[in-house]
């Protein structure tokens, strides 16, 4: 089985890109499973079901979604193996831009859209910086110049990434993406012992534990203060 991790900012078009790509994979008679990671709720699983794709969803609720991802990914892989998928896709939304769910030697794809503004690539952090493939969406509604500028910004942030343009509505580019996703001789059995591409630090403070009151006397643990007096 191949494992592919998709991530990207909310509403960048991850689900649409994955769905169009799966359509192409299915034409090659490859079986695909999807696990959607989200925070509070998602209806995207229904979209996958409609397509006849086996799907599971994982909601992190009050936990950090990326931590939740990494705590569950091995179980997810085992589910994929039991179902004998050729490709297992995970989809997760990058929320704080600091963490990324990418694992060493597991294909990592970041979906980012042309409308998000040209300074977005440098703000995104490891999710874009350490991706293998950067998929740019919503290219049909901005000018050629903006597409070129946006792609060149992404290249500056992550020179190693292969940059592709995919239209989540028409599916233009999705066939091409599907051809670089699957590698026949790659057989993943387990992720035990593998490592994340970037560490996911987290501060454990009183608010993590349910504190709601505001004020210094209620703050414990790893607390950091904003530097307001610096220039």
């Amino acid at each position: 089985m191949n494992l592919v991790t998709f991530s990207g900012p909310p509403s960048s078009g991850k689900t649409a890109v994955i769905i169009k790509t799966i359509e192409s994979l299915k034409e090659r008679n490859l079986s695909v499973g999807v696990v959607k990671f989200d925070c509070l709720s998602t209806d995207d699983d229904k979209l996958y079901e409609k397509l006849g794709v086996a799907v599971k969803k994982g909601l992190s609720g009050s936990l950090c979604p990326d931590h939740y991802f990494v705590s569950n990914i091995e179980e997810v892989v085992q589910w994929g193996l039991q179902n004998e998928f050729d490709i297992l896709i995970t989809e997760s939304a990058g929320l704080c831009n600091r963490c990324s769910p990418y694992i060493k030697d597991v294909k990592a794809i970041c979906v980012i859209d042309n409308l998000s503004g040209i300074n977005t690539p440098k703000k995104i952090g490891p999710m874009l910086k350490s991706a293998d493939i950067a998929v740019i969406t919503k290219g049909d509604i901005v000018s050629q110049a903006e597409r070129e500028v946006f792609a060149s910004r992404i290249k500056t942030v992550n020179p190693k990434a292969f940059i592709m343009h995919v239209n989540g509505l028409t599916g233009q580019g999705a066939y091409e993406l599907s051809t670089v996703l699957y590698e026949e001789d790659e057989q993943l059995e387990t992720l035990k012992g593998r490592k994340l591409r970037y560490p996911m630090p987290s501060a454990l403070c009183s608010y993590c534990l349910g504190e709601t009151r505001i004020g210094e006397s209620y703050q414990m643990g790893n607390v950091r203060k904003i530097k307001l007096n610096e220039q």
Binding site: K129, V142, S143, P159, E176, P201
Partner: protein, 338 residues
């Protein structure tokens, strides 16, 4: 290629002097060059406290390796500028949606040619474009093969982000950046690293103004241009500043823009123009038209002399319609079609 250890021990200022494009790289990796120019990468990383390093997910090894790739790519990019461009594009036939052979053998399109693509929605126009963009080598659903300059194309057309074969212009495209016309083109020019920036920016604005019905000045924000002005600017910018040798146009709306002139500008810049259109005037402006049916190319029709002859008449009709529109807009009562 430069060695890793050299990079980490050179001053940031020295690096920028050797590779000016690195200024952009540092900026996008949030390294303030002005403050840290005297640092080497090594000493810079050491100067950042661990907490910040963790917060911003900085890693010396990864930074250096990204920088090396960037330098390599930019050097390669600057080199290829002298390459001989795309003289011709050849589409070798594949199959339609039913798996039947397409109704032609090969179509060779040379630069400065205009080819129209006609066919109902969903007939396979985007797949044809997709095949060209991906420089298909019998490895797409249509099994078409694309040749460039009569040869199997360089892999860069598929995999490099700075050498894209196809630029696109379509009806739904808008400017989304909050910049003036001048700043906007300047940004595009910088990303392309052109040398005579100022000259090119002025040329684009002049050409765009020739295409637009109502002129605009360089200080106008791009988002407040009219539909016609936006389209004019997009076409002029794509013609002059886009690196892609092939331009795909999805209709040009017939309002506020001189379409004939727009096409002349594109072919004048030695582009290959593919145009999906159902507008008879545009369709007849092409040298040939491709008819698409069931996902395959069904016919290739050269625009005949007779058809070209209709163009004059069609244009006269078009002018009449425009004139009537203008009169109605001005509150006139129509008494004749003249």
């Amino acid at each position: 290629m430069i060695a890793t250890e050299n990079i980490a021990t050179k001053k940031i200022n020295t690096l920028i002097k050797e590779y000016p494009f690195l200024a952009d790289f540092f900026e996008n990796h949030q390294i303030d060059v002005k403050q840290n120019g005297e640092h080497t990468i090594e000493s810079y990383m050491a100067s950042v406290d661990e907490e910040d390093r963790e917060d911003f997910a900085m890693d010396q090894e990864k930074l250096v390796s990204a920088m090396l790739s960037y330098i390599d790519q930019m050097m390669a990019f600057l080199d290829t500028e002298e390459d001989k461009g795309v003289e011709s594009l050849t589409i070798e036939a594949g199959t339609d949606k039913k798996g039947e052979a397409e109704n032609f053998e090969a179509l060779k399109i040379s630069k400065s040619e205009i080819i129209c693509i006609v066919g109902p929605t969903g007939s396979g126009k985007s797949r044809l474009l997709g095949d060209i963009e991906w420089v298909a080598q019998k490895d797409t659903p249509t099994s078409r093969k694309i040749l460039i300059n009569d040869d199997i194309p360089d892999k860069k057309w598929r995999f490099s982000s700075s050498d894209k074969l196809v630029a696109q212009l379509s009806q739904n495209m808008n400017f989304v950046m909050d910049l003036s016309v001048y700043e906007f083109i300047e940004l595009h020019a910088q990303s392309r690293m052109v040398e005579n920036e100022k000259e090119i920016i002025e040329k684009i604005i002049t050409e765009a103004n020739k295409l637009a019905g109502e002129p605009f000045d360089p200080e106008t924000p791009v988002t407040s241009l009219s539909g016609g002005q936006s389209r004019a600017l997009m076409i002029a910018d794509t013609a002059i500043l886009s690196s892609s040798p092939i331009i795909l146009i999805d209709e040009i709306e017939n309002a506020g823009i001189d379409r004939q002139r727009a096409l002349e500008l594109l072919v004048g810049e030695e582009k290959i123009v593919l145009m999906a259109t159902h507008d008879p005037i545009l369709a007849l402006m092409g040298d040939k038209r491709i008819v698409i049916k069931n996902g395959g190319i069904d016919k290739i029709i050269p625009t005949s002399k007779e058809e070209k002859g209709f163009l004059t008449e069609l244009e006269a009709m078009d002018r009449t319609v425009q004139l009537m529109r203008k009169r109605l807009r001005n509150g006139e009562i129509l008494t004749s079609l003249r």
